[in-house]
């Protein structure tokens, strides 16, 4: 009974996206996806994720190494601060960048003098995306690295390996599935972000419109079929994410179970 309700509650929306998108057949669907504004929105979404994910990946690995391999005071405070972007409303995440870089912002006059646009332009969108997807890799990688312990790395060190060698040969093979898991979640959030990007984008068609914003504009113009066609791309991304998540989770469990397992 509970599960029947659950399926209704979760599955029907997913079904509805594709039904609405294909309402007028495949031709209309393809036309909606191939219109120039949709394609440029897709490009921008991919670009923002392509910047945000590697940046947060490097941060996640660096934070994981510092937190899992060393003891220091204030570790819990640091962990709480890393979680901060999860707790902040996406609208506030966008607002702070307007307050910093907008025309009335602190750096606004300087940016105007040097003819640099951050807000209502690409840099603002990328910044907002980096902010909202900030904790994902770190949050996944820290527990995995903590569970792995330090003995293997220390042994490698004693045997004369350099820091980089230790990371590449010992740590990375141990954490790769955890890392991939974090990247997956980070990417899903980066590509799907709406609230924060909506505040900083200015929604200039063909220029500062990401795919989620494109969906909103079409929907508000009552072009429902086109809106759902664009939305179906994002829903497809969600499905791919869920499938990969299951696959990686299984690998991760196996990897975590191996050390010390008598079998």
């Amino acid at each position: 009974m509970a599960l029947a309700f659950l399926v209704l509650f979760l599955f029907v929306p997913l079904l509805a996206v594709f039904t609405e998108a294909l309402r007028f057949g495949l031709g209309a669907y393809a036309a909606a996806i191939l219109q120039p504004d949709a394609l440029s929105a897709l490009r921008l979404t991919l670009l923002a994720a392509a910047v945000a994910v590697p940046l947060n990946l490097v941060f996640g690995v660096s934070a994981g190494w510092a937190i899992a391999k060393f003891d220091f005071r204030g570790k819990n405070i640091l962990l709480t601060l890393i979680d901060l972007p999860f707790a902040v409303s996406p609208v506030i995440a966008g607002l702070v960048f307007i307050l910093l870089f907008g025309r009335q912002g602190w750096l606004g006059p300087w940016l105007t003098d040097h003819d640099i646009r951050v807000v209502f332009a690409l840099p603002g969108i990328v910044l907002a995306t980096v902010f909202v997807s900030f904790p994902f890799v770190a949050r996944e990688i820290i527990p995995v690295m903590q569970a792995m312990g330090r003995e293997e790395e220390e042994a490698a060190r004693v045997l004369g390996a350099s820091g980089l060698q230790i990371f590449r040969r010992v740590t990375l093979p141990n954490i790769k599935w955890g890392l991939l898991y974090g990247v997956l979640l980070c990417n899903a959030r980066a590509m799907g972000e709406f609230g924060a990007v909506s505040v900083v984008s200015g929604k200039i068609r063909g220029e500062t419109n990401t795919l989620p914003l494109h969906v909103e504009i079409l929907y508000n113009e009552y072009q429902f079929q086109a809106a759902f066609a664009a939305a179906s791309l994002l829903a497809g991304l969600a499905i791919v994410t869920l499938v990969l998540k299951v696959v990686i989770e299984r690998r991760l469990q196996r990897a975590m179970a191996v050390p010390g397992d008598p079998l």
Binding site: L3, S89, L95, V96, I98, G192, G195, Y219, A235, V246
Partner: protein
């Protein structure tokens, strides 16, 4: 608990710690700090006048109320779902289990337009609800529904591992000693689950308070009635009233921060409970 401190021979602490702090400050802390500083510059009277404005107060009440209601619904519903998924083997279990994360994975704007289309008076589900005289879309009920959708995975995913750890033998022991099913639930199961349960509730609540994308389409956005706080902030920004937007936002930020501290406290409580 005895904590042993030991010296490690591993390199790279200063480099990784330095970069971690640098990146954290640059991307998260400095930008977020602008908000309290800018609202401080407004002065107390402007700040107070803004946040006690009836329209602003109504939005706080709505955002908090709907988030609380949704988190409460998820606490009950999520417990049942987590219990069923952990304790029973069902056909299609893997698919259902993966589907739980859909609200995480589905971009909020997509969730927003889809829920609105489904629950609008002429939609697949709204049509049947309308026959019962229930209007979901463009009412506080619709806002709550969207927040239930968004918050469900938090409760389920927090509870699942804890239910998995709960030994069936403890329940069997309780019932063999003569406890009724309700007594087992109330005296054994729920007390054991409560730290994780509360954490899941708080996570769902924290996410819901600031949620924008999935709510804004179904809300109807009528001032005083169905206007959530994040939308009100955007409305002020669109009118270039940065002062009001800042003042409204700083209250929301403060609330989120308190919730985050509460969640961390709950999680360490849950961790201690499980380790003893």
């Amino acid at each position: 608990m005895v904590r042993t401190r030991r010296h490690t021979v591993l390199p790279g602490f200063r480099l990784t710690m330095g970069y971690t702090i640098f990146y954290l400050v640059l991307i998260v802390l400095l930008p977020l700090l602008t908000l309290p500083i800018r609202s401080w510059e407004l002065g107390w009277s402007v700040f107070q006048a803004t946040v006690t404005d009836p329209r602003v107060l109504a939005s706080y009440r709505l955002s908090l109320g709907a988030a609380l209601a949704a988190a409460a619904i998820n606490a009950v519903f999520g417990l049942v779902v987590a219990w069923v998924l952990t304790r029973y083997r069902l056909p299609g279990q893997r698919v259902i289990d993966a589907l739980i994360d859909l609200p995480f994975a589905l971009p909020t704007a997509v969730a927003g337009i889809t829920l609105t289309t489904l629950y609008a008076p002429g939609g697949w589900l709204g049509r049947h609800l309308a026959a019962w005289g229930i209007t979901v879309a463009f009412t506080p009920l619709g806002i709550t529904l969207a927040l239930v959708f968004i918050g469900l995975p938090f409760v389920v995913r927090t509870l699942q591992p804890v239910i998995d750890d709960l030994d069936l033998e403890i329940e069997e022991a309780a019932s063999s000693l003569g406890a009724t099913r309700w007594q087992v639930l109330g005296r054994v199961v729920l007390p054991y689950l409560s730290p994780a349960w509360l954490t899941g509730f708080a996570l769902a609540f924290a996410r819901s308070v600031g949620e924008y994308g999935s709510v804004v389409f179904i809300a109807g956005n009528m001032p005083m009635r169905t206007e959530i706080t994040p939308l009100l902030i955007i409305t002020q920004l669109e009118q270039f009233d940065y002062a009001r937007a800042t003042a409204i936002a700083v209250v929301l930020l403060l609330l989120s921060f308190l919730l985050l501290l509460l969640i961390n406290g709950l999680q360490s409580w849950a961790g201690r409970r499980l380790s003893t």
